[in-house]
């Protein structure tokens, strides 16, 4: 069997034309040309038969069991799940980093039980390291942990509206120590307002040292 230049070129053209003919997307001219070539060329005819078989094999359904009903149920459940906010990235270098870390820590440790101990100005050295408030704390002082989503502007506006000023913090558990500025201390209402403010994760009176 000898291949002339023409035969080679035709065979290359035939090879190129096979996918679209098999897909039935080829023009009728292209289709007719290929069929004619195959009728005269044993080699391309064999190739075409193999390509046909390949297409048939590839069109068999997947042989891996994946249940669409189960998958869809999981997908719908996922749509209902809360979208995790990328807050950590947003504040990674921000002023709230330590407050956020502290808040997460507090959540993990259960705020009620352990938090109270952290807030107290205990003389127990084991807890001292958790508090950076070295100086005596003024009366009416509060510990406040802002949420990571709170902007610095909102934080400042909140302090301003409640006549509070920051005198310390954030400490190692992320609490800022704030005290009433100027106006007489209005402890309980201020505390309630803080707690009711969106973006304030925690507000506690600083335990008075006996």
């Amino acid at each position: 069997m000898t291949f002339t230049m023409d035969t080679n070129r035709d065979c290359a053209r035939a090879w190129e034309a096979m996918p679209s003919v098999l897909q039935e997307s080829a023009s009728s001219e292209q289709n007719a040309w290929l069929m004619d070539h195959l009728a005269h060329c044993q080699s391309c005819s064999e190739d075409y038969a193999q390509q046909e078989r390949l297409r048939l094999a590839l069109s068999l359904p997947a042989d891996i069991p994946v249940d669409p009903a189960v998958g869809l149920k999981r997908l719908l459940a996922r749509l209902d799940a809360p979208v995790p906010k990328p807050v950590v990235q947003r504040v990674r270098n921000g002023w709230l980093t330590r407050a956020l870390a502290a808040a997460v820590l507090l959540q993990a440790l259960a705020i009620g039980a352990l938090g109270a101990r952290y807030w107290s100005e205990s003389n127990n050295p084991a807890y001292r390291t958790l508090s950076q408030a070295s100086a005596p704390v003024p009366a009416g002082a509060l510990h406040v942990v802002p949420d990571a989503t709170m902007t610095l502007a909102d934080w400042n506006a909140l302090l301003h509206s409640l006549n509070l000023q920051v005198v310390g913090g954030p400490n190692d558990v992320g609490a800022y120590t704030v005290v009433p500025s100027g106006a007489p201390a209005t402890g309980a209402p201020t505390l309630q307002k803080l707690r009711a403010t969106r973006g304030i994760r925690l507000a506690e009176p600083v335990a008075s040292v006996p």
Binding site: S25, D63, G71, R78
Partner: protein, 194 residues
């Protein structure tokens, strides 16, 4: 694009509009409609059913979120296959490319009542596909399995049509050389023939 394709795309667009409006029933219809072809497409990337389900769900999670941003530059099916392709590659990076030799494991576990012809055909195909790169397997599946045009495949894989052509060409040549001759047909006698 033939009549059936046009009709299917019109239906898909309608479903996508409803999804953009938050219609979960439309999502369900779309999900079931594409599940078979996505399963087979993804089975060319991995043999793990859990990964396949994860990728399908990632794909439809994105389609659900982005349904409103679909502008109709392509067919909906092309758009969805593109999302599935990218989710599939991401899953491969996360779970590691499944070792090729695993390809034969599920087939060996298949019950014996699998129709003989299909079984033989799958084995034959499996021998060939394991010799291809991931992108070559993807192209051959999209063109021969799903029936996408080369232009569609270029959109799905976000590469030039020339690249798709080259991948298809090399995949086919490789398959021609490694796949055994058709059963029941005389072996090629090119060299030995008088």
């Amino acid at each position: 694009m033939n009549e059936a394709d046009l009709q299917a795309d019109a239906t898909d667009r309608m479903l996508l509009e409803r999804m953009a409006a938050g219609d979960r029933a439309a999502l369900g219809v779309m999900y079931r409609g594409y599940h078979g072809r996505l399963c087979r497409f993804l089975s060319r990337l991995t043999r793990r059913p859990d990964v396949i389900e994860e990728v399908i769900n990632d794909c439809f999670w994105i389609a659900w979120q982005k349904a409103g941003t679909f502008h109709g530059d392509s067919r909906v099916s092309t758009w969805i296959m593109g999302i599935a392709y990218r989710c599939g590659l991401k899953a491969l990076r996360q779970h590691g490319d499944e070792p090729v030799d695993e390809d034969t494991v599920p087939q060996e576990r298949l019950p014996s009542h699998d129709p003989g012809d299909d079984r033989e055909l799958r084995d034959w195909l499996g021998k060939g596909l394991e010799k291809l790169s991931v992108d070559q397997r993807v192209v051959i599946e999209l063109v021969y399995g799903v029936g996408h045009s080369l232009d569609d495949v270029a959109v799905i894989m976000q590469c030039p049509v020339g690249t798709v052509k080259a991948r298809l060409f090399h995949a086919r040549v490789k398959l021609r050389n490694v796949l055994p001759a058709l059963a029941g047909e005389p072996a090629r006698l090119k060299e030995g023939a008088p």
